[in-house]
């Protein structure tokens, strides 16, 4: 019986333990498994958060024995895990590890995975509960889902975690949804957006809804505008094939940026259940006005300098078309047509090869109506800004006007930073740990729902649709800067500017 329904567990302060289960990783020979999934499992094992009766079944076509797989995963844990390597912890995890080399989708009825899972149930007591993790290329999602559905067993629960991207436009997302829905109910489907697993993103909800002082000012009356930035200083890291098709709009905007927007703008949910939270997020997406071409700026990086090193232009990256029109930068001005936010612009931007890695949400408040210090403050006094740092350094900053020490009444903007030091301090859980654990617990709050994904794609389709009518002049920003000049114009037209850096 799960601990949640155990009356004795009440008041013990013990976190819910997931049911016994087997985690089946499709794409177990790939990069994600090695860099994120197995290190996350190790971190969970390290903290005793995995169910006692647990197994990991890795599936991929690459031939290798379980022994080899385990040995590779040991190396991966040593390299990528956030905790020190402990043989006893890894061995407990490794005891339940199996690798099945098969083309799952085309195994001519020879269900090697099913057989292994039966064995695992018998040996490890995993009770027929299955958490399927689709860490395969997106093209393989539909067929793997179909096979899973067809082979679904009666006993135990079955859930499926689907990696991003979920489709590459509205039509393909709907198609994939239909394929998934045929075999799995919505509460069995966990669409990953790993941003939602980040501590600070959850902290944003805590900040907004656990503090009486923020909600009353979180609206059009007091907020001048909101800026959300997802900036990366890295290039495409050899992923030309994927990036050429995706661009920043599919890689970052459709999922991470829109998620951050929804969490910033949503109404307080009635509780923190998956549906209550997601209902509110969907409402925000539905209230979003489709931006016209004048509200969208795309760009692509040219050569430049990053941290004292020269870097090549996007079109010079290996595997990229020398005349590529793929955007590596995007800035969009959005409006949410509801009572809270009418006429308050949300400026979103994301890009590669920008000056630094930074994900932030900046709530810029309106200026004080009549500062009596006007003459002396000069431009030393800026409007108040509440800045939520999502990465790399997690925390919250508040820009306030304060008096300069000494004689006179000189006012200056002071930044008060509350820094959690997340990325630079050990001990903050990786997003995947939280997400895998939640999926085992059946809690979908931090996953994207079908209607949410659809709303996101509608917006993306509208923006991309307009692009087919014009021919951008790329490259239009130097690597290492803050994006194209046109993106600055987007705000200057409104008498605003991007947060300075």
């Amino acid at each position: 019986m799960p601990a949640a329904t155990n009356p004795l567990a009440q008041g013990l302060g013990v976190r819910r333990q997931p049911d016994p289960c087997a985690l089946v990783v499709f794409g177990a020979s790939g990069d994600l498994t090695k860099r994120k999934l197995v290190p996350a499992l190790y971190a969970l094992a390290y903290r005793g958060l995995l169910p006692e009766r647990f197994a990991v079944v890795g599936v991929a076509r690459t031939e290798q024995a379980t022994r080899q797989f385990v040995s590779r995963m040991r190396t991966a844990v040593k390299e990528f895990a956030r905790d020190p390597f402990r043989t006893d912890v890894f061995e407990t995890l490794a005891e339940g590890m199996h690798y099945v080399a098969t083309d799952f989708a085309a195994d001519a009825g020879e269900d090697l995975v099913g057989k292994t899972l039966d064995d695992v149930d018998a040996k490890r007591g995993t009770a027929g509960n299955r958490l399927h993790y689709l860490a395969v290329p997106p093209q393989a999602f539909p067929v793997v889902v179909r096979k899973l559905g067809e082979r679904r067993e009666r006993e135990g629960w079955a859930r499926v975690i689907i990696e991003k991207p979920f489709g590459d436009d509205l039509a393909s997302a709907r198609e994939l949804s239909a394929a998934v829905r045929r075999w799995f109910a919505e509460d069995e489907v966990f669409r990953i957006d790993h941003y939602l697993g980040k501590e600070t993103v959850q902290n944003l909800m805590a900040l907004r809804f656990a503090n009486g002082i923020f909600e009353p000012i979180w609206n059009r009356q007091l907020v001048d505008h909101v800026q959300i930035t997802v900036a990366e200083s890295i290039g495409i890291e050899g992923r030309a094939g994927y990036y050429e098709r995706a661009g920043v709009i599919r890689d970052i905007f459709q999922n991470h940026l829109l998620q951050l927007l929804a969490l910033t703008a949503m109404e307080p949910p009635i509780d923190f259940s998956a549906d209550a939270v997601r209902n509110e997020k969907v409402k925000v997406l539905r209230a979003m006005r489709t931006p016209g071409p004048a509200s969208v700026v795309r760009g692509q990086y040219g050569r430049g300098w990053i941290e004292g090193e020269p870097v090549v232009a996007y079109r010079e990256e290996p595997g990229v078309d020398p005349r590529s029109l793929t955007e590596t930068y995007l800035a969009v001005k959005l409006h949410i047509d509801n009572w809270r936010w009418a006429d308050t612009p949300f400026y979103l931007r994301a890009g590669k090869r920008l000056a630094r890695r930074e994900t932030t949400i900046a709530i810029q408040f309106k200026r004080a109506p009549h500062p009596p210090f006007e003459e002396i403050a000069g431009d030393g006094l800026r409007p108040n800004v509440l800045l939520v740092h999502v990465q790399p350094d997690e925390g919250v900053s508040l820009a306030i006007g304060a008096k300069v020490p000494g004689a006179g009444m000189s006012i200056r903007t002071v930044h008060m930073d509350f820094l959690y030091g997340g990325a630079f301090r050990e001990g903050v859980p990786e997003a995947y740990e939280r997400l895998i654990l939640d999926a085992m617990l059946g809690d979908a709050t931090l996953f994207t729902r079908e209607d949410e994904v659809e709303e996101q794609w509608k917006l993306v389709d509208a923006i991309v649709g307009a692009w087919s009518r014009d021919q951008p002049t790329f490259p239009d920003y130097a690597a290492g800067g803050w994006g194209p000049a046109k993106a600055d114009d987007l705000l200057h037209r409104d008498g605003r500017s991007w947060r300075r850096h």
Partner: protein, 280 residues
Amino acid sequence: MGVVAEVERKLAQQRCRQEDDGVPELRASTITDVVWAPPRWLPQARRVLAGLAERNPARTIFLVPLPGRGTGVEADAVVYDFEIGDGREVLSEVIELRLRGEAARHPASVVLPLLISDLPAFCRWRGRPDWDGSALQEIVEVCDRLVVDSSEWRGLPAAYGELAGLFEGIVVSDIAWRRTLPWRVALADRWPQIRKVDRLAVEGPRADALLLTGWLRSRLRRDVALTHRSAATISRVRVDGDTVAPPRQRSLSDSGLLSAELDTLTRDPVYEAAVRSTGA
């Protein structure tokens, strides 16, 4: 790990060490203070820093150009605890970046990621800038204010012509100019007689003498000749042979002078006109 991540990590680790109660730590800052400090200027630049902390809690980034020696960027980062009296202390982050080879020509690519967002960035440029160099151009683009001390330069007054070329791109201020303030007050006291001044004689740094003369020329719209004798600080000023009583105001320390410059954020038209009238 890139150099920027390395710096942030070092700073975060040191901040954590000072906060072992798990409470997120608080950092207050008003500016990012960038210091372009070629090796021979570095010790002096470091000394000035200590006096700045109270009025201007800042992140300081020393850029030490080492052109021609290897390539790449090396970084040190330290969180300093400056005692400011009454048992109070100010935490200040100090980053030192050694820019080797080509990196010395492209400082913006390391400075930009390390600026504290939303706050003004000042660059104190030690020594005389290479006016046509890409380093100066990049700094002008990413910082809001350039602070120089023209008494550190040779080749005056010609260099003022180069400096004036920057006025449209960045707010410039000059510590030499700030140093002349008490003397400007004293000279202003001589109004209206001073209206007819023909010759100013200054014993002091050449920069200070040129700026004072430029100031009189531009304010009075008059051709004022300069007689100059070198001295470490302005010790004597004469107007058409008549000695000006030394100002009572005590002159500020190096840190005090810089700190005063950091308080102002907007262009100073009086200074700009004075520079333009130095005879460059």
